[in-house]
């Protein structure tokens, strides 16, 4: 594909001698720009932004806006993956949070309601606390009982959605309570509210992970949990905290998802989102083996996924072949990040330059 041919020839990322962390973010960023460029050439209207009803309106805004649920899930997922874990339950917890919120707002009313049955702040709080507790449970299973993360989180992947369906009675619960719609559909300073929420979650996690020692603990646990424990890190506490954060993130994403369609769709909400979130983390340069993690890369990863989806719609690719196109692009983006490809590229480059030039470290 032309996107990746371009990328392969682009020598920028190592020549300038960028720091390892930012060089890691370079390939996903390049992939994202390649997708956008591809769209600009073939569909000039793609990047146009106009103002409708006093807010910004355009494909780019849509991409940012619709990427938010996966972006938030992936932010939590990044920490989990950094401890060499996986959280398969986050898609189901997303559905659970939405189901809780809408059913609490509705109370026992059987018709479409414009009012809330419970103080709105309590609705939000309960939804977030419940999903955080589910996350804590995941962490407990992994850290204290030593269950493998995939198996431990598989429990809530199935049960979470089941509980959500139980809460909604397996039907699409709708509401027309105005304040709730602000979370997923509101506008602030001409931009969608979900973007500000995503930025808030990202900054909080980033601060916690990068401005305190916590990030270091997470990486230490991810590289070698026993070694970390011997060096005085409370590994199981670290693991429980990251799964709780992931559960909290799922709760926030669930509120945005449900508010966006003003409906708790327990069966379909967040279906397979855990896989998209894992993909976003991996596209962002974090290894599934644990250790170093790149929160910024994760955000770019989530944007790549949504930009790709929106391009497929914009080009009107037949639905039957859409998934194949998506898979091809993903394969290429993952390939340009593979260690083999990187070392190949660098050996080519060093051959071009003076022999014996210092090989730059990769992440």
């Amino acid at each position: 594909m032309s996107i990746d041919a371009k990328d392969a020839k682009n020598p920028k990322d190592t020549k300038r001698g960028i720091k390892p962390a930012s060089s890691k973010i370079f390939s996903p960023l390049l992939a994202l720009f390649a997708i956008l460029l591809f769209n600009i050439f073939l569909n000039p209207g793609f990047l146009s932004i106009t103002i409708v009803n006093g807010h910004l309106y355009g494909q780019l805004i849509d991409i940012l806006n619709r990427a938010v649920p996966v972006m938030i899930l992936a932010t939590g997922m990044t920490l989990v993956i950094a401890t060499a874990g996986t959280d398969l339950s986050c898609g189901a917890l997303l559905a659970l949070s939405g189901a809780l919120a809408v059913s609490l707002i509705r109370g026992d009313s059987t018709v479409l309601n414009a009012d809330t049955a419970m103080p709105f702040a309590a609705v939000i709080l309960i939804s977030l606390v419940v999903t955080s507790l589910c996350g804590l449970w995941n962490g407990f299973l992994v850290a204290k009982l030593g269950i493998q993360p995939i198996v431990a989180t598989l429990i809530f992947m199935t049960a979470g959605r089941g509980i959500a369906q139980l809460i909604t009675g397996a039907r699409n619960l709708t509401t027309s309570y105005e304040p709730f719609s602000v979370i997923g559909q509101g506008w602030f300073l001409g931009l969608p509210v979900p973007l500000f929420i995503a930025a808030g979650v990202f900054l909080a996690v980033w601060y916690f992970a990068r401005r305190t020692a916590f990030g270091l603990f997470v990486e230490a646990v991810g590289v070698n949990a026993s070694a970390a424990r011997y060096s005085g890190i409370n590994s199981s506490l670290v693991i429980m905290v990251v799964y709780t954060i992931s559960g909290f993130c799922a709760g926030v994403a669930g509120l945005i998802y449900a508010s966006n369609i003003m409906c708790a769709d327990a069966t379909n909400a967040g279906l397979n989102y855990e896989l998209d979130a894992i993909l976003a983390v991996v596209l962002g340069g974090t290894s599934m083996m644990g250790g170093r993690f790149y929160l910024g890369g994760t955000v770019i990863g989530a944007l790549i996924i949504m930009a790709l989806t929106k391009s497929i719609y914009a080009f009107d690719v037949a639905p039957e072949s859409a998934l194949v196109v998506k898979a091809f692009v993903v394969v290429f983006v993952v390939m340009i990040q593979s260690p083999l490809y990187r070392s190949l590229r660098e050996s080519l480059r060093s051959r071009k330059r003076k022999p014996g030039s210092v090989r730059e470290s990769v992440g």
């Binding site: 849509d62 369609i261 069966t267 379909n268 914009a314 009107d316 639905p319």
Partner: protein, 322 residues
């Protein structure tokens, strides 16, 4: 004395039992077994309620078993029906394959079988009395016909009309047939064109996301045809966000006739929904009666389904059950 009492007690209870049976036999209640798939959706729940209600109204003795989406539960239920010697068996198979043995047992027992909603992969049509369910192609055709009529009534039947389509889950029966049926009608009207068509997976969220993209393409959109109401309801929000008036600037047609669609129509934001009715209880009862009267039924009985335009929404909304 004690023994005498016991003998008397046994005698009395046997008498009661015999009399009870005699009374029951005199009543000659028709016994119907129904093996339902489960309760996986609103649609299915409404389907169950309709069958239960209709059988109760007809005075049938209904033995209803919820299979909880598991084939083994359904097979067990069917075997129980054979042992109980029910008069007629109704059955919605959860999957297509693996029914050969149990259906052979039903046939050997000489119990008439009514299959509803879904199908099995057994060849031939001798093993069941009738199949009843929705005709998805016709639902698509009804949507197309309503659109043609609607445009005529607005004097737009000669205009170039751009239609965008939100398809159901790729490869699913309803998605394929609803598309085919709709296109059957468009064939005779070259001025009606489907300009964009994408899958929205039958969900609200994707209905909104995909419609958002349709709108940004810049082409004029006159009509939205969604393969189910949920996608249409999601799309309505995208249309509003684009600063357009759903139901006026863009004509919106959905399928299913769920309650949400009626709410949208009452609000003037949707124009029409084609019914995909789960309420086949009354038809089921009719079929059971006909079979027991010795009549031969057509092999396929389609559910009676309606089209609900915006104008009637207000009157009908209160009576919608799903």
């Amino acid at each position: 004395m004690k023994r005498k009492c016991a003998v008397l007690l046994v005698f009395v209870s046997v008498l009661v039992l015999v009399l009870g049976c005699a009374a029951f036999a005199a009543d000659k209640k028709i016994v119907v077994g129904f093996a339902q798939i489960g309760a996986e959706s609103d649609w299915r729940v409404a389907n169950t309620n309709s069958i239960k209600q209709a059988c109760a109204d007809a005075g049938f003795d209904l033995r209803f078993v919820d299979g909880q989406q598991k084939q083994e539960n359904q097979i067990k239920a069917l075997r129980d029906f054979i042992t109980q010697g029910v008069d007629v068996i109704g059955f919605s198979p959860v999957v297509e394959s693996g029914w050969d043995e149990v259906i052979e047992e039903i046939n050997d027992a000489g119990i008439p079988l009514i299959i509803s909603d879904r199908t099995t992969d057994i060849e031939g049509d001798d093993y069941y009395a009738t199949w009843m369910g929705s005709n998805f192609i016709e639902e698509g055709e009804k949507a197309g016909k309503w659109l043609v009529e609607h445009l005529k009534s607005k004097g737009r039947d000669k205009d170039e009309i751009n239609i965008v389509e939100l398809q159901g889950t790729v490869g699913s029966g309803p998605a394929i047939d609803r598309k085919k049926g709709f296109e059957n009608i468009l064939k005779d009207h070259p001025n009606l064109k489907i300009t964009q068509s994408q899958t929205g997976d039958f969900t609200r969220d994707l209905g909104k996301t995909v419609m958002e993209s349709f709108l940004k393409k810049g082409d004029k959109i006159d009509v939205l045809y969604a393969h189910n109401d949920d996608m249409a309801l999601g799309a309505i929000q995208a249309i509003k966000e684009a600063g357009l008036k759903p139901g006026q600037d863009i004509i919106i047609i959905g399928v299913d006739a769920v309650k949400g669609a009626f709410e949208a129509m009452v609000a003037g934001e949707m124009n029409c929904t084609v019914e995909c009715s789960p309420l086949l209880g009354p038809q089921f009862v009719e079929a059971v009666k006909a079979i027991l009267d010795g009549k031969t039924l057509p092999k396929i009985t389609y559910t009676i389904e309606d089209v609900f335009p915006q104008e009637v929404a207000k009157d009908v909304i209160a009576s919608r059950q799903y």
